[in-house]
Point group: C2
Chain length 157, copies 2
């Protein structure tokens, strides 16, 4: 398989879609979490907000690079030079792991809060927490897909 | 690098140590969680127990295979036949991801419970939950190490 046929790699439209979706989902997760609720009372939600603050600029930069490369049809990456992509892959996998950890710890706190009594967590606030973790899981799915696609790069290194 | 020099692959002593540690840590996690505490009140702890119940037989079987292969110096795997190891790798990564999710969701519930009042979670029970999640994280570290070592197999496929 030629390098440029690998789906989801730098500068392809599939890669652009993956990163754009990741940016949108993680921004939605951060917005639902950050406005009007006291997320800093729970360390899991603090962790979720921190990780989303890391993921958003990272995926947004990659989406910009991919979008530029698709629009002007100018390859960002030279043929045969996969070192850049390989280094990106490692960071992507680390961020994907962190997103999974944040999303699942947020989900378990949401589960506990929704079973507690109403005074502890009013239902409009609880549904915000729930939406935020759902978007975090969606961002993780995209990010995991992107790093799984990148495994196909390894044999060509 | 020759196939048999890859550390942590099937039938090496490093692989045996990794799997034995994984078995011990996940059993410790399950035991601390399962005896004398009502883990089924919290869905995160139920998830943790389920995943540990999956990880223990899996890593125990692999540890037995590795130990047999090390003791009798009879290679389990023929040279040049990496398909078996490759299929193992996929399952290992799935289990490692699930262990991370279970450990971090358990940790966030422990964090919430330790901040709640004493009547909600007596301190002797809380410390059991805490120890159980710590062992789950240790099991995840070993399992992640084992699947990272396995990435070195990919170029030889």
């Amino acid at each position: 398989m030629a390098m440029d046929d690998v789906p989801g790699s730098m500068g392809t439209s599939a890669g652009f879609a993956l990163r754009l979706g990741q940016t949108i989902f993680s921004s939605a997760s951060l917005l639902f979490m950050a406005y009007g609720v006291q997320f800093y009372s729970y360390s899991s939600f603090c962790f979720l907000v921190t990780i989303m603050g890391l993921v958003i600029p990272w995926s947004f930069t990659l989406a910009l690079l991919d979008g530029y490369s698709v629009l002007v049809t100018c390859p960002v990456r030279q043929k045969g030079n996969n070192g850049f992509e390989f280094r990106l892959m490692n960071r992507k996998q680390v961020l994907s792991t962190l997103t999974l950890a944040a999303a699942s710890s947020g989900a378990s706190v949401v589960d506990i809060l929704m079973r507690a009594d109403e005074s502890f967590c009013p239902s409009n606030i609880c549904s915000r927490y729930l939406l935020s973790t759902i978007f975090a899981f969606l961002a993780w799915f995209l990010s995991m897909g992107s790093s799984l696609f990148n495994l196909w790069l390894l044999p060509s290194l």
